[in-house]
């Protein structure tokens, strides 16, 4: 959105420029729309769909959903290399989410597990799932109903940082707590 900000408050002829920028952003999917979050459709054994997905469709963004507060606004739990156990520095954040979720039994969260890029992709899907399950168990042990919790693993497919260094790896080994509408 930086480009847009620099082009506001200019003369009429620059409206053309704004239109081009807007078109570009939309085309590249950089302009995120925020459609209401849909829970995943119930699993069906088979269903036919034809053609290819629209490559320019944007991913819905749920980052702004859910409660606020110092601990509750922290939605990412980090993990050590090749580990799926909850670190001591994550306990207070998880406890705050557990308390909020037990108070709000209608609220559902999706636990999105991730791995760093080292090793094979499908095995890393397994590692991300293990981390998601660890967070799920931690929340369930603190009284959150199983029906409020779901997991998904993206393995190394959706990194938070792209570098091939320890700092990026540390940011990528994570579980994101996503509040669903």
């Amino acid at each position: 959105m930086t480009i847009l900000a620099t082009t506001t408050g200019v003369q009429m002829k620059n409206l053309v420029l704004i239109a081009v920028v807007l078109a570009t952003l939309t085309l590249l999917g950089a302009c995120k729309s925020k459609p209401p979050e849909q829970p995943p459709a119930p699993p069906a054994p088979t269903s036919d769909t034809s053609g290819v997905e629209d490559p320019n469709a944007s991913v819905d963004d749920t980052a702004s959903m859910g409660p606020s507060g110092e601990l509750l606004s922290k939605r990412i739990i980090y993990f050590d290399f090749d580990r799926a156990d909850i670190r001591a520095d994550s306990q207070s954040v998880l406890a705050a989410h557990a308390a909020y979720l037990t108070r709000s039994p209608e609220q559902k969260v999706r636990l999105e597990g991730h791995a760093d890029e080292r090793g094979s992709r499908e095995y890393n899907i397994g590692l991300g799932e293990r981390r998601g399950q660890a967070v799920r168990r931690a929340l369930a042990l603190q009284g959150v109903a199983e029906s409020q919790l779901s997991t998904v693993s993206y393995g190394e497919e959706r990194p938070a940082a792209v570098g091939s260094d320890e700092q990026s790896y540390g940011q990528n080994r994570r579980v994101e707590i996503v509040y669903l509408k």
Binding site: K32, P55, S120, E122, E129, R158, A161, S164
Partner: protein, 435 residues
Amino acid sequence: MNERMKKLVTCLLLLSAAASPAFAQLRLTITSGVTDPIPIAVVPFGRAVPADGGLDVAQVIQRDLESTGRFKGMARTDMVFTPTTAAEVDAAGWKQQRNDYVVVGRVSAQPGGQVRIDAELVNVLTGQRIAGPSSVAQPASLRFAAHRIADALYEKIIGVKGAFATRIAYVSVDGKPPSQRYELYVADSDGANRVRIAASPMPIMSPAWSPDGEWLAYVSFERRVSAIFVQHRRSGKKTMVSARAGINGAPSYSPDGKKLAITLSGSNGNLDIYLLELASGKLTRLTDDPGIDTEAVFAPDGNSVYFTSDRSGAPQVYRQALGSSERPRRITFTGGYNARPRISPDGKQLALLTLNDGGYRIGVQDLTNGTLQVLSKGRLEESPSFAPNGAMLIFAGRERGQGVLQTVSVDGQTSARLDADAGEVREPVWGPFLP
């Protein structure tokens, strides 16, 4: 140019790039060949203009042969004569110019709009004229027909069928997190004729070919959670075959094309291998272990499945006999990380991802004596896949921080790289021989 103009130009460039169909085109570079490649002259073919559509058939054949690292093509500027039949080839003259072989040929228009390629091979050391291969194709498929000629020539000289007239599938990723764009492509083995199969703003991974080369199975997160799809390569017809709770991953076709080996976790998160019968949807559990079991692949005889499991504490490759109650048998013992098994077409070799000297590299293990040979030197390689002739592997590597595709001969002697002109390419899978 002021700042605003620069931005406009940048936006227009981005706009045209996004609209261009030629995104992530692949370019092949030989990175290592044999020390003594076979010198060969591929003479420009006699042409049926305009039936050949301007395609330089001889050049396609020469590039195919050179891409193996086993041939050195003669420069055209050094060719004194350009014969188009073996009878016109003066063997002694070509031999004097240090060639071992000469390839000549003709492209001709056929009744009904088809195009025919005839090629002949002359061994100039012996003077032997080897009746050449021919191939008939629609004009649009002439390039593929040229690959078929190269396959036959490679076999006549090396003794192993070439794998040029085959296709690869791979995943391309563009953009920076969290706004990435994932695409699944199919291209000829040399990277040309790229066709987009699927695209999504959510991850696409783990493509797998059906044994007849007509279908691709893959994992897509387009519904935010994982699901396995099978899609017809030409029509685009797409069927979701598994979208169960938890992970739906790592599809791999059985040799008869009727089943997929897949990984499911259920909602409790325990990954195990299952067999899914495609026609009936019938599901059979194959492994049952609290560890991660995934990345199953059938042995070519269809009697067993190899897979990755960390039941011993770290990922290793195991083999499960089908139709047997025996426990899976561990196959890999060299090193602390062995994953993503793939079996050679003759069933005798296991390609895998192995942690070696601090790098994740491609290895080949001899299944009869257990010896592991590491074939690559990078730090972050993955996804090995055998060519259908068993002579080469394609895998994903890194070049300047970007994912590229690489090939290596199974003996480790020759290698090449397929660079994308934009974005990152990964997860290459080599398709079967085609009828």
